[in-house]
Symmetry: C2
Subunit: 187 residues, 2 copies
DNA sequence: CGGCTAACGCTAAAAATTTGCGTTAAGGTG
DNA sequence: CACCTTAACGCAAATTTTTAGCGTTAGCCG
């Protein structure tokens, strides 16, 4: 059979989760700059060559781990109304992404070129917003444009986290959301 | 004398410019992933240890080169009116940053932790916008809030470049600018 | 001009990465 | 269920990259 196959279960999967777990553990106690592939290999009981063959290099591995961590485990909380749904989600999003691990994940995701890690992880955000939009519509609310929400609310938050040019206060995030909601109402 | 000194002229400066030039040349013809410190050292006629001692590692060197490239050489063009000034500047900004070298510079700048490379380079953008604002005021126009311009216009552009989730067309950039100008007029 | 020392070059040692080859085990087939 | 194919792994040698010690060069200051 000429089809490309990717092993999903058994040893291969066990190694992947073991390596991922090791990386997450290491990121808790040490800086990203002092983590090396041989270290990860030893702590996870895998030979370095396996890691190199499977992920290519350290930055790709870190990106892979970061994307896996950002993958949502549940839908955003339902607070009963679109405005509060959006605010709750954005505040939590800003909180997570501006934390030390959040900034680290962002950097890792943006530092990889293979596998479109950045695209996949911003898709998570898009999907969450889409969920909120559909939820609003099913309540009879007017809904909102997801792309516009990203431009007006998400993009500034990410920008300030990445460039560190501004404190990301709760009030500021709230103002972004309310500014967006007003724009929706006006349109 | 106990004071820390940094050599500015002579050999040290010559080496810096030589290494920078070599890096810029290499980035034209090859991918960032295949550039190594020993390569740069050989092509620029410097020993690797000098590069390691001076810049620490490859990512710091690349960030240093990127910041130097992004440092503006002139003020943004004066088109005679605030709206067209802003549009001209943003279109050129989007063009430069979304190009291959632009994306590479962004990635390099965000991938370094020393020296606040990211902060310094977003300061360039801030300064340019501030120039446009002052120019508008001196013409008798109402001006605009620079931080708001960054949130509404610059941040979305950078976001879409980094995450690759959307085509960055001229029309789209123009719509961001006009949306911002309307917001200014309304406020 | 002469002293001081930051910054460089050279070299050897250490660490990381790549590569070849044999082995293990996942997943499909008869 | 036993067998076959081959993706994925482990091991170890070869290669490359990075670090560190030490002597030398050349800015900068008095």
């Amino acid at each position: 059979m000429a089809r490309e196959m990717v092993r999903q279960g058994g040893r291969s999967a066990r190694i992947q989760s073991e390596v991922h777990r090791t990386v997450r553990d290491m990121l808790k106690t040490m800086d990203r700059g002092e983590i090396t592939v041989p270290m990860i290999a030893e702590k996870s009981g895998v030979t370095p060559s396996t890691i190199y063959r499977r992920w290519g290099d350290l930055s790709e591995l870190l990106a892979d781990v970061a994307v896996a961590r950002m993958r949502p485990v549940a839908d955003p909380e339902d607070t009963g109304a679109m405005g509060s749904d959006l605010e709750t989600f954005i505040l939590q999003y800003a909180e997570e992404m501006s934390s030390k691990v959040g900034r680290s994940m962002l950097a890792d995701v943006l530092g990889s070129m293979e596998g479109n890690a950045a695209g996949r992880c911003c898709q998570f955000t898009y999907d969450h917003l889409e969920t909120l939009r559909e939820r609003a519509l099913s309540r009879g609310e007017s809904g909102f444009d997801v792309s516009e929400a990203i431009d007006v609310v998400v993009a500034p938050i990410i920008y300030h986290i990445l460039f560190g040019d501004r404190e990301l206060t709760t009030d500021y995030c709230r103002s972004l959301v309310s500014s967006f909601l007003e724009k929706c109402a006006g349109a």
